[in-house]
């Protein structure tokens, strides 16, 4: 750095100025070496969790959903909590890959691929839950407006159908975005590999990419277009998820603050999840110079900001409950904080609002152990936020004689465990089968990789 301090120069996003071929080596290494025992243990644990979930689901479908804790009036319980939680996890990926791309935040390059992959896996996990929740998932085809022998159509005025469109569009567009980003990297792996089987697979999926600048020209344009579409899309998805609640007339759900509040919460929990997994990945695969501490610190700042937005929403809900003068509304919110599920409410508030305040201190923002623990707490808190919204509200409906207390059964817990199993199994398989960092994007931001135009 010269002595004239120029604040327009960004700090380098990749540490140590690696050579271009070193980047190739570092990122391709996990794909070309034998897995360590730690990897196999991790895969074993996650697939065991997945298996537990699958067995619990098998029971639920064979014997019926009476195995769950759902009762009258709590008809939406853990499956819907899990759905909202996992859709939320996915949002960080699109935020990193699309919104930060539009804002020209170059630090995203190290983590964008991973975050996008997590989006896809989280949305796959999330998408299963509305189907699981119906109890007869093989009839899910009727959710789509396909001509059928009953000559019936779906109800396009229902938020549940908006959800079907939003989540399936989100999954498709995220996948396209991710795949378009993968093509140059797959071509690089194709040119690099010596195994014939791998070469065939990479050739098929890289579609014959030739690193041509006549192609890069269109490629950069489509990346911009997809980022431009993904940005409103990601906002719309959690908005529409919140409509599932907000469009109903239940006090505690029927609020206009829900869409922005859900989106902020989604980004909050998603960043916590991405941060947690990246801390592990960069350690195991020695990618500390590409996924840098600066990047993690920036993610912690995003979590601090979104955590405060969520905290503001909690406060604002209480204020509106009082200000509206609606006795049902104020009852619901007092019941949340001091009623039958007060324990869940205070787990939510302490994890989401109180502990994240520690990120004001730079030392904690840059301490791997501390940020990991806070990240885990954030996800616990955000899961409980959805639990509070869904279960507390339903368990105290308009008719006191029908009030009931919801308790999840072992099968419910097993399905929750299985969802984490599915997500982490997909993540663990991904980190050894595809490049976890976008090679072409990282190369393009390394110092000295771009020509100087005079």
């Amino acid at each position: 750095m010269s002595s004239n301090i120029d604040y327009s120069i960004e700090p380098e996003v990749v540490e140590g100025q690696p050579k271009l071929n070193q980047i190739n080596e570092a990122i391709a290494k996990p794909l070309e070496t034998r897995p360590s025992w730690k990897y196999l243990v991790a895969l074993g644990i996650s697939s065991t969790m997945l298996l537990i979930g699958a067995v619990c689901l098998g029971f639920s479908f064979y014997y019926g959903i009476g195995l769950w804790g759902n009762n009258q009036p709590v008809g939406w319980a853990i499956p819907i909590v899990n759905f909202v939680f996992w859709v939320g996890i996915g949002h960080a990926g699109t935020l990193i890959s699309a919104i930060l791309f539009l804002f020209r935040q170059r630090w995203r390059t190290g983590i964008s691929r991973f975050a996008e992959a997590m989006t896809i896996f989280a949305v796959i996990t999330a998408g299963l839950f509305p189907l699981i929740h119906t109890g007869r998932p093989w009839l899910a085809g009727y959710l789509f407006p396909l001509p059928n022998q009953h000559r019936l159509w779906v109800n396009f005025t229902s938020p549940l159908i908006w959800d079907v469109f939003a989540v399936s569009t989100y999954l498709t567009v995220s996948f396209v975005f991710w795949y378009i980003g993968l093509i140059p990297d797959l071509a690089m792996l194709r040119d690099r590999t010596k195994s014939k089987i791998k070469k065939t697979i990479y050739s098929i999926f890289s579609l014959g990419w030739r690193h041509s600048n006549r192609h890069w020209h269109h490629y950069e344009m489509i990346y911009l277009i997809l980022a431009g579409f993904a940005t409103p899309l990601v906002l719309s998805v959690h908005t529409i998820v919140s409509f599932d609640f907000a469009v109903s007339i239940l006090p505690g759900w029927h609020t206009t603050i829900f869409p922005p509040y859900f989106v902020a919460g989604a980004v909050f929990s998603g960043f916590a999840m991405v941060q947690n997994v990246l801390i592990v990945v960069r350690k195991i695969f020695n990618l500390e110079h590409i996924i840098t501490l600066d990047t993690l610190e920036k993610m912690n700042k995003v979590m601090l900001a979104t955590g405060m937005m969520v905290g503001y929403a909690y406060g604002m809900e209480f204020f509106i409950a009082w200000y509206s003068g609606n006795p049902l509304e104020s009852f619901v919110f007092l019941n949340r904080a001091f009623g039958n599920y007060a324990w869940a409410y205070w787990i939510m508030v302490s994890c989401n609002v109180i502990f994240t305040q520690l990120f004001w201190f730079k030392k904690i923002r840059r301490n791997i152990v501390a940020m990991f623990i806070i990240g885990v707490l954030v996800n616990v808190g955000m899961w409980f936020e959805r639990f509070v919204i869904v279960v507390t509200t339903l368990s105290r409906d308009f008719l006191p004689s029908s009030w009931d207390y919801y308790k999840p059964t072992l099968v419910d817990i097993g399905i929750l465990l299985g969802s984490f199993g599915l997500f982490f199994t997909l993540v663990i398989l991904f980190i050894r089968s595809l490049p976890v960092v976008s090679i072409s994007e990282v190369k393009a931001v390394v110092k000295g990789s771009q020509p100087v135009h005079h």
Binding site: N155, I180, R192
Partner: protein
């Protein structure tokens, strides 16, 4: 690779590899100045400013996305409008059938879906003409180095200005680290896919067998296993089935004494035909609509025995005794209420038709019978 012979007849082109991206800028400027057309720059990541210096046209993908996005919006608009307000209109929450605000989320999602996926498909499969793993550049030393840390400039032999030695010396002038000639693979050029290849045909046969057996298994076997058979095995009794729950063993229950079911009619003239004939008055007027309804119901329920014109010419070929004609003096002189009573209660072998016809339909049928009687026994004034 072994089949590649660098002769002039199968030469694809010449490529130069550079380690310094700044040199590329100068080569590009020179090639544009000399007027080459079929050439390209290869790099494993997009080089800033190169497409502009190559004088590439502005990418049309923005317009493609716009057109596809609008197509998505219009598709969504048509879908929501046609299904919700034309094909199967349902009133939901007292809102109009075409409640546009409620359709906006779906329109938005379809716009994004079609624009994103469509633009990607247009770029990959139409503009780039992918998949293309047969391109001569694949599997060459040139491509391998370009994908790691070299930058390549490649001029195709089909360019009008292409002369092998001239191009090579041009690259040398700019300090190329390596110059590579690339030829077409003769085997690949000569290759022609055959439809009646044994391997190809057996591949198709295997696919057909797998698809049809999976379809057969699903439609004829799996759907009849629990839990997929929930529609076939339900906790209910069919008509006439006996019950183990009730003491008398009857599955079909009588309504409790003294109760009236919803919409159940109360007929006060049971076994009182004459009183019915005197007191009941047809509430319907002989409008075209009512007569149409009456004809329709008469043809469906009455005409099998009474005949199309009520002449007692049954179509049942003696399976059931023919009824007397409806044009007899007796029936013509009956009041509407008296006929109504016959429909309600039946007469001789005719059963009650109360459950087949609603009250309005019964009166409409009577209007139609009256018009038949008038037509077959026309008075002098009708003819005039």
């Amino acid at each position: 690779m072994d089949n590649q012979m660098n002769t002039s007849e199968n030469l694809y082109g010449v490529g130069a590899l550079f380690k310094d991206p700044n040199k590329i800028v100068k080569v590009v400027e020179k090639l544009v100045e000399l007027g080459y057309k079929h050439w390209d720059v290869h790099s494993s990541y997009p080089l800033h400013g190169i497409p502009k210096r190559m004088r590439l046209k502005w990418s049309p993908l923005g317009y493609v996305a716009l057109i596809l996005g609008l197509t998505g919006t219009l598709t969504g608009l048509f879908l929501t409008w046609w299904t919700m307000s034309v094909d199967y209109p349902l009133t939901i929450g007292g809102k109009p059938w075409f409640s546009f605000p409620a359709f906006v989320p779906v329109l938005f999602e379809l716009t994004v879906l079609l624009a994103s996926v469509g633009t990607a498909i247009v770029m990959l499969f139409i503009i780039f003409k992918f998949p293309n793993n047969q391109h001569p550049l694949h599997d060459t030393e040139y491509m391998k180095k370009v994908s790691v840390d070299h930058f390549g400039v490649f001029i195709e032999a089909k360019d009008e200005l292409f002369e092998l030695e001239k191009v090579k010396s041009l690259f040398n002038d700019f300090g190329a680290d390596e110059i590579i000639e690339i030829a077409y693979d003769r085997n690949e050029v000569a290759f022609k896919p055959k439809v009646f290849d044994v391997k190809f045909i057996s591949f198709l046969v295997v696919i057909a067998i797998i698809t049809s057996s999976v379809a057969y298994l699903f439609n004829n076997k799996i759907l009849y296993f629990p839990p997929f058979d929930f529609m076939l095995n339900q906790f209910r009794l069919g008509p006439q089935e006996s019950s183990t729950f009730f003491a008398d063993g009857f599955g079909m229950r009588k309504p409790p004494a003294g109760t009236v079911a919803r919409n159940q009619e109360f007929y006060p003239f049971k076994n009182k035909p004459d009183e019915a004939g005197m007191k009941l008055v047809n509430p319907l007027l002989a409008t075209k609509e009512n007569l149409e309804l009456g004809r329709n119901k008469f043809n469906t329920f009455c005409s099998p025995c009474h005949g199309w014109r009520g002449e007692g010419d049954s179509r049942l070929n003696g399976q059931f005794p023919n009824p007397p004609s409806l044009h007899s003096e007796k029936v013509r002189n009956w009041t509407d209420g008296r006929i109504y009573h016959v429909i309600m209660e039946g007469q001789n072998v005719m059963p009650s038709y109360a459950s087949q016809l609603t009250e309005k339909e019964r009166w409409a049928v009577i209007l139609y019978i009256r018009s038949l009687q008038r037509a077959l026994n026309a008075k002098q004034e009708d003819i005039q």
